[in-house]
């Protein structure tokens, strides 16, 4: 197991070592020390940006639509650019024709709506004009026959931006998921128990 003592093994190294330990260990099947398991966890736990940056070349959407999607994503979940939300959607749209149609069509509809109402596409419209459209789409009370196609698109865009954000390092960090770690034991912080009990119907119980 000397390989484990090397400085900073790469994830690939770790997986290979783990793979070998599965086969070679004499103690039994698949023994991996918690220390090694921890290496695997920390190696991937940095909250790095998943954004492709300003020069990202979209795989499916036009550059204009991609930029529009990024802006839309920032409205839905601030910070979603760093989460690579637009890249995520563009990647999947490049591999799924139905999704490509939904996003090309939806972004196209938005521009058309904005041009009709404000004589500017979504990206070049003023922020209050942009949010005026989003408010039309985001609340059931504002639903009209005119914005019905936009509402369907809105649901797709909103769900996928939420998905992308909270499955990214920045989203996971922000929501406060603290697991995916190797622990030598399991315990529950009393502070969390007290928080919930105090607010529960059992507050008066000892």
């Amino acid at each position: 197991m000397d390989e484990l003592l090397k400085d900073e093994p790469s994830r690939r190294d770790l997986l290979r070592i783990i793979g070998n330990s599965m086969v070679l260990t004499t103690a039994g099947a698949g023994v991996l020390s918690p220390a090694l398991a921890q290496h695997v966890h920390t190696e991937v736990a940095e909250a790095k940006s998943l954004s492709g940056g300003p020069n990202y070349q979209p795989k499916c959407l036009t550059k204009h639509y991609f930029a529009t999607l990024r802006r839309l994503g920032e409205y839905i979940i601030p910070g979603s650019t760093d989460a690579g939300a637009a890249e995520y959607i563009d990647f999947l749209a490049s591999r799924n024709d139905d999704l490509a149609a939904i996003f090309n069509g939806g972004l196209g509809w938005m521009d058309d709506y904005m041009l009709k109402h404000y004589n500017a596409d979504f990206l070049s419209a003023k922020p209050e004009q942009q949010t005026a459209l989003l408010d039309q789409l985001a609340y059931k009370k504002n639903a009209t026959p005119e914005n019905a196609p936009g509402q369907r698109f809105w649901t797709w865009a909103r769900n996928m931006v939420v998905d992308a954000y909270y499955t990214s390092p920045v989203g996971v960090q922000e929501i406060g998921y603290m697991g995916n770690k190797a622990m030598s034991s399991f315990s529950v912080p009393q502070e969390a128990v007290d928080y919930a009990m105090k607010r529960s119907p059992f507050a008066k119980e000892s």
């Binding site: 698949g30 912080p189 969390a192």
Partner: protein, 572 residues
């Protein structure tokens, strides 16, 4: 016509299937020095390559939704998610099954070393005394040809090897075993315990096949909660890592993977002489001769193999003089309900991954209650906590919370970790309308006739589901929570799981003391074919609310040990 390849060698024992039943038989026999050949319909498993343990969703471009966004369109190519251990399929490509008109049935099949133990929930509950004598208990179902006392030592062996958490509680419905230390309850589980106390519902430490202590050279659990993805340290039980891989080191195990058993061939004396299988990569038929065979291909595949093994001596299928092969098909009764509990909204963040699944559960608590409108009972599985965010994790809260921007974030952050869910897992009473048979007109891509399923819940199960609904609702409300999702005042037939959906099929090659009404004897050995043993959940006479795996291990252990004895005595 191509040439069938027949090897001259006579293998001691051929085991068909490598899940809990096959893996146990392999472990027991190879430990006794018996040479075993395993026929597995899928590929070998390499945990380092195949398990996605510890991966973050962003490590793949599609974040787990599928490389072509499949899950967004309801095409679940990964039945339990992209990060789940390789396990199997609801629809195996090229291997169809059919469902009779008026029935609904789903059939999850595994095609990989270790089978469904690679991903299963690892809930490990002993059947109780009355589970072995259900007819004696309440006049329904079929008594087993053995008692709990006869099974208890085999449960001991199973728990010793598998490793099961738990505590001694003295419940008749949940017999105590040989337990590893339990894991402390999470916050939502502590609230459930409080609610249970008010409602007189016992909530006790769960009995799960995860190692809270190192045993048999397998490392202790490192509490990442990802058992379902497959555990590279083998701290969560799998047949592949805890049984088959150690057996490989004995030198007594030969594995033929990607081999689909087609038929068991019998000689003039009516015993099995050879196993015919399709070598999948070359699509050629091969035969290996054997002294004995253990069929552990999963309850329905095992029935299918026997039904497809017709000969002049066994015109209705091998060992099927009773006509019971394929009958008595059962699955677990499943129903679940979730809620949001405001007391946990905004709770201080902490790591509550723990072991994969619940730390506490509810055993059946109304065994002695009179005037119930359904027989037997169910146990309750509990979910909740701060899980790793996944694609779709916040679909529900996002749908309920209108708006965007920081207000949407706030709704999601408040909701995260504030949920609780309950899943009932109840006993189905075998009925004459639920069985599988060979479809007379459909074959799979290897030319093997496929199964046709008939399945029907009875009022017993529907009434039980209504009881689950009332109970879960009461628990959620007692915690100060509100039910989320679909909401019907009285749920039953429209809410029960589809047959097969809980993946606990059992009963299709039942055991009994009378060869006229059963296929196997108390050692899971065919009445009519002494060198044929069935060692999955097919021999089970009933399907108690205890999930099947631990009893598959215990019963297979017992069956394999008996077979070894019979071989030593020269009876087989």
């Amino acid at each position: 016509m191509f040439q069938v390849q027949r090897g001259p060698e006579v293998h001691d024992v051929v085991v068909i299937g490598s899940g809990a039943g096959g893996g146990t038989a392999i472990k027991v026999l190879t430990d006794l020095g018996i040479k075993v050949t395993l026929i597995e319909a899928g590929p070998m498993l390499n945990p380092a390559r195949d398990f996605k343990e510890h991966m973050w969703p962003w490590e793949v471009d599609h974040r787990g939704v599928g490389p072509n966004a499949e899950n967004y369109f309801g095409k679940n190519i990964y039945p339990f998610g992209y990060f789940q251990a390789p396990n199997g399929y609801w629809d195996v490509p090229g291997e169809p099954f059919t469902v009779a008109e008026g029935s609904e049935f789903k059939w999850f099949r595994s095609r990989i070393l270790g089978g469904r133990t690679n991903h299963y929930g690892r809930i490990s509950l002993r059947f109780s005394d009355y589970d072995f004598k259900p007819y004696e208990f309440d006049g329904l179902g079929y008594d087993w040809p053995m008692t709990y006392e006869e099974m208890a030592p085999w449960y001991d062996k199973a728990e010793d090897w598998v490793g099961v958490t738990g505590t001694k509680e003295g419940f008749r419905s949940a017999p105590d075993g040989k337990f590893l230390p339990p894991v402390p309850p999470r916050v939502h589980e502590q609230l459930v315990m409080k609610a249970g106390k008010r409602l007189n519902i016992p909530v006790i430490p769960s009995r799960m096949a995860m190692l809270t202590k190192s045993i048999h050279g397998r490392a202790a659990c490192h509490y990442c909660g990802q058992c379902g993805r497959g555990c590279r340290t083998a701290s969560a039980f799998t047949s592949s890592q805890a049984m088959i891989m150690p057996a490989m080191k004995t030198g007594n195990l030969n594995i033929i993977s990607n081999a689909m058993a087609r038929e068991l061939l019998v000689g003039d004396d009516g015993t099995v002489t050879a196993v015919s299988y399709i070598d999948k990569p070359t699509r050629t038929e091969k035969q290996i001769r054997c002294r004995a065979v253990i069929v552990a291909a999963s309850a329905c595949e095992s029935a299918r193999l026997l039904l497809n093994s017709k000969s002049t001596k066994f015109p209705n299928g091998l060992a099927n003089g009773s006509g019971m092969v394929g009958r008595n098909l059962t699955d677990t009764v499943g129903y679940s309900l979730g809620g949001v509990v405001p007391a946990m909204e905004g709770m201080p963040r902490h790591n509550c991954d723990g072991i994969g699944g619940m730390h506490v559960y509810v055993p059946w608590w109304e065994l002695d209650k009179k005037n119930k409108d359904f027989p037997r009972g169910y146990h309750i599985e509990i979910g909740g906590g701060f899980g790793m965010p996944q694609i779709g994790s916040f679909r529900g809260v996002a749908a309920r919370a209108e708006g965007y921007g920081n207000s949407l974030k706030d709704s999601i952050h408040k909701y995260y970790g504030s949920t609780v869910s309950f899943a009932g897992r109840g006993e189905m009473i075998p009925n004459e309308h639920s069985y599988c048979e060979i479809d007379p007109s459909v074959v799979d891509q290897f030319g093997i006739p496929v199964l046709r399923f008939h399945f029907r819940w009875s009022d017993h199960e529907i009434n039980m589901v209504k009881h689950m609904d009332r109970t879960f609702r009461a628990l959620i409300e007692t915690m100060g929570g509100r039910v989320t999702g679909r909401d019907f005042p009285e749920r039953g037939a429209e809410a029960v799981s589809v047959g097969g959906e809980i993946i606990h099929e059992a009963g299709t090659v039942r055991m009994g003391s009378d060869p006229k009404t059963s296929v196997l004897n108390k050692w899971s050995q065919a009445h009519e074919v002494k060198n044929l043993v069935v060692a999955d959940a097919a021999p089970f006479n009933g399907n108690p609310d205890k999930n099947v795996t631990l009893t598959i291990v215990a019963n297979s252990w017992r069956a394999a040990d008996h077979l070894a004895d019979e071989m030593k005595k020269g009876n087989v």
